[in-house]
Symmetry: C2
Subunit: 316 residues, 2 copies
């Protein structure tokens, strides 16, 4: 497998531009006062289908040759990649099948179906996801669009940090959540090309810290079925993603579950925007390590806003 | 009492500019598809202190002579005006007392105190609010800044529609919620001056429809202690506000409670922004009367985002 390069991010940006939002960057006087840093929030919760995942999905779907595209696409996803892929397939007018864990939020299952995607459920482990997807593909011949371990997807996700760096000058740090590593991989490609002095940080739930432990061990560690409120970050780091992360990510910070929920509640209450738990992991780490960020200009990627409004983490 | 004019709105805009946000205008492909209209949402939920009320409060506080300002300010409010006034007083460095009904959302009470305001509780009727405020003023000599029946406040609230009309061309309609009439009064002043062909519509909870009934009767009707989820709209139309509404508001549309909650849930789910129930009344009326708005460019003022996150209307 070949690692994507920044040129792939640029090609992706041209390809996906008609189908995605260039999302706004918000600031918060409250959070600046709380952290001593100057924070710039890249709002992918306002992205099409509610998350940055639309970027990679659209790039992969619209990059298919016509002869391949007619067989449709398929993937496994705990939610946002599935929604993004279902919408991307609908934009191109092809079929889409999404393998989802039985525990996926109801709102995300409904949204995949709302975009015309077919949902196939599996037990909530990384192993079961892959086996179920293999079965779907053997029957339909669909093109697999993996959620993160894919050069087209990584290049697509990199367009988010590209926009952030184009819009906000002089960032000392860009921080994004890390799950499978699609977003952080693309983010690293864009930062290294556009602003080499900008540090690339990843934020990870302490309950699903395979990336942190992989970096410490110097080799990719796999984790099956971790339990965290940040449901978008349960996947283990992919192989291509590890190839980028091990060389280009400066540091991985971890957040405890309670800190993630508290940061999410703060974002809702103070910024008046809806973000998912996964989004809150970077802010949770910044609030926990203010000395690490004080005085710096920090770009924070808010990854998505697809939440089951009837089941919020502070009312469990 | 003298009605404010558009010149007062312009003077207010200069006075308050250093202390408020020029809030963004968002669009939604989903809601355009649902309504057949083109909707432009003016996001006062992102305003300082979380609501448009900051505009009128800052205008009143910073318009006081120094000799008067030293005695501080006082008001009665179910929440957002109190928060806006407490913050405005803190910006100028003077005291603020807010009379609040015992039923006011906890988050709003905490926020008034967070800005340094003193809270005095009363029973939740319009009559009790006024009596309690009179008592506070007799003791402190504070300058009363009424929540809506005040030329300075109406002029301040008019800056919101002024910005909307400056930013979005060719609006056929501007629609805003109506409670005491401060926002709709100021909105009418700006629309008539800047875009005379633009219709000015008000949206009101059917459970608190004194403005609708007043317009039908041709005289101002007072209502004591109405019950609606849209807690910001329980106040009856003020006298000055009626002076504007009766001549300048083209139509008042009403929404039932269930429709208000549904519209609020839709805004959260689809636009990924946090708005209070009062904000959702205009969209509720648009969704209920799509034929009234189809094909039109409609400015919708989203008034505030101060919600008790632990007590949401769809989880009661």
């Amino acid at each position: 497998m070949q690692l994507p390069a920044y040129e792939d991010v640029c090609r992706a940006h041209e390809r996906i531009a008609p189908w995605i939002h260039r999302t706004p960057v918000l600031t918060s006087a409250t959070f600046d006062a709380m952290t001593g840093a100057t924070l710039f929030f890249k709002c992918e919760n306002f992205q099409k289908a509610g998350a940055f995942k639309s970027r990679g999905a659209v790039n992969a779907v619209f990059g298919l040759e016509d002869a391949d595209a007619v067989r449709g696409v398929a993937t496994h996803s705990s939610g946002n990649h599935g929604m993004g892929l279902a919408r991307a397939a609908a934009c191109r007018g092809i079929d889409c099948t999404v393998v989802m864990p039985e525990t996926a939020p109801r709102a995300k299952v409904a949204a995949v179906r709302g975009y015309g995607g077919e949902v196939v459920f599996c037990t909530p482990t990384n192993t079961a996801r892959q086996q179920t997807l293999d079965h779907v593909v053997a029957e339909s011949g669909a093109n697999v669009v993996p959620p993160y371990d894919d050069a087209r997807v990584i290049a697509g996700q990199g367009t988010c940090a590209k926009e952030l760096l184009e819009d906000i000058e002089g960032l000392d740090v860009v921080i994004a959540p890390i799950g499978g590593g699609g977003l952080i991989g693309g983010t690293a490609l864009s930062c290294r090309a556009l602003s080499p002095h900008t540090q690339v940080l990843a934020a990870e739930p302490a309950n699903a810290d395979d990336a942190y432990r992989s970096l410490a061990a110097g080799k990719r560690l796999i984790e099956d079925a971790p339990d965290t409120i940040a449901d978008g970050l349960k996947a283990s780091l992919g192989e291509l993603n590890w190839g980028i992360v091990q060389h280009e990510v400066d540091e991985i910070l971890r957040a405890e579950e309670a800190a993630i929920v508290e940061a999410m509640h703060l974002i809702w209450q103070r910024m008046k925007i809806i973000v998912e738990p996964s989004c809150a992991v970077p802010l949770a780490t910044i609030l926990h390590h203010p000395e690490r960020f004080a005085g710096q200009r920090v770009g924070v990627i808010l990854t998505g806003g697809n939440v089951d409004l009837d089941r919020l983490p502070w009312s469990y």
